[in-house]
């Protein structure tokens, strides 16, 4: 149940981000849409790793080693998402850097002004 809620939230976030990317003409808003989309993807990835009545895969007083395989959630999506968050941040940084350069060249942030690379 709980992971369905998380999954739906993540999918909604992806849709909102996609909508933002398609509807807005301001480059900064497009980047915000992209960030929303990638956050949604992370949430979806974590949600599909959930195991019913599972807990975090960290062995301590609450979760001992012998019962861990039956009570822990899937650790692989979590490990992947740690990677994905860092890469998403890196991509955002590069996009913002290019945005600064684009603004320098045309003094506007509207994507409609940059028609040279349009096919």
């Amino acid at each position: 149940m709980i992971s369905s809620i998380v999954l739906t939230t993540g999918l909604l976030l992806i849709l909102i981000g996609f909508w933002g990317m398609l509807m807005h003409r301001n480059i900064l808003r497009i980047i915000i849409g992209f960030s929303l989309m990638s956050t949604g993807t992370h949430i979806v990835t974590v949600a599909i790793g959930y195991v019913k009545n599972g807990t975090a895969p960290i062995i301590d007083r609450v979760l001992n080693m012998s019962e861990a395989p039956s009570r822990a959630v899937d650790p692989i999506p979590s490990a992947l998402v740690v990677t994905a968050i860092v890469i998403g941040m890196a991509v955002t940084a590069i996009m913002l850097a290019y945005t600064i350069r684009l603004y320098d060249s045309k003094k506007t942030l509207s994507i409609d002004a940059f028609t040279e690379s349009k096919w």
Binding site: A68, P69, A72, P75
Partner: protein
């Protein structure tokens, strides 16, 4: 107008696909075989209570190395894109001196930044015991740097020191990996150091070492990226 119609159609179609996904989704009742073997092997063979750190820094440590390389390229890319003959004409319309931050903001930053740094060290050092690790701690260090940069706009980061520290950490990371080939079972194997008592602070072999190196490297890289976004050429932010 047609563009809007196309956008709406695309979003509705995506929404339809996602709705089907969400309604047909059922929770797993047990782990898949790969996940199950990870959950069993990481505590038993690697001596790390946190399974995710065990995967990130031993079984999938090669991915982590590649990811650090990506971060390095982004740092270099941001500096490259933003630093080319951009600032002479940008200096013209930023002639007036920015107002210094208020007393409250300055005191707050002075009080908080050491605490944030200590918290980052805690996160990095406990990566093998509880939630945390090199990436997370490095990001917290960068948030501390960001706070300082926001409060003191003229603060000069020692970029040279950051770059050298980052390179040394990267080289040591790879050397630790090669030591795994020589002493233990393979590249980036954590059993180069004794595993120690399960759950103790000094345990899990090479994982804390890799965590620290990763934390230093990520912290330095993110700080360089943050510094790249400030006006002025790298290393001489005061000139603008």
């Amino acid at each position: 107008m047609t563009r809007r119609v196309f956008a709406v159609v695309a979003i509705v179609l995506f929404g339809f696909v996602f709705a089907t996904l969400a309604t047909s989704y059922t929770e797993q009742h047990s782990l898949r075989r790969l996940a199950e073997s990870y959950v069993q092997l990481v505590p038993q063979k690697l001596g790390a209570p946190n399974v995710i750190t065990g995967i990130l820094l031993t079984y999938r440590a090669f991915d982590t190395l590649g990811e650090v390389a990506v971060l390095f390229m982004v740092g270099a890319g941001v500096v490259l894109v933003l630093n080319v003959d951009r600032w002479p004409h940008a200096a013209a319309h930023s002639s007036e001196e920015p107002r210094p931050s208020s007393e409250i903001v300055q005191s707050g930053a002075q009080f908080l930044s050491p605490l944030i740094a200590i918290f980052a060290a805690y996160i990095i050092m406990n990566g093998h015991l509880s939630a945390g690790g090199g990436f997370q701690g490095g990001a917290v260090i960068a948030s501390c740097v960001l706070l300082v940069l926001l409060v003191y706009p003229h603060y000069q980061l020692n970029i040279e020191f950051l770059t050298i520290t980052e390179s040394v950490a990267g080289v040591l990371f790879v050397l630790t990996g090669i030591a795994g080939v020589i002493v233990a079972g393979g590249f980036l194997d954590n059993r180069i150091l004794p595993l120690g008592q399960f759950g103790a602070f000094f345990s899990a072999g090479g994982i804390p070492v890799l965590s620290i190196l990763l934390g230093i490297k990520v912290g330095c890289e993110l700080s360089v990226i943050l510094d790249g976004f400030r006006p002025g050429p790298v290393g001489q932010k005061d000139k603008v």
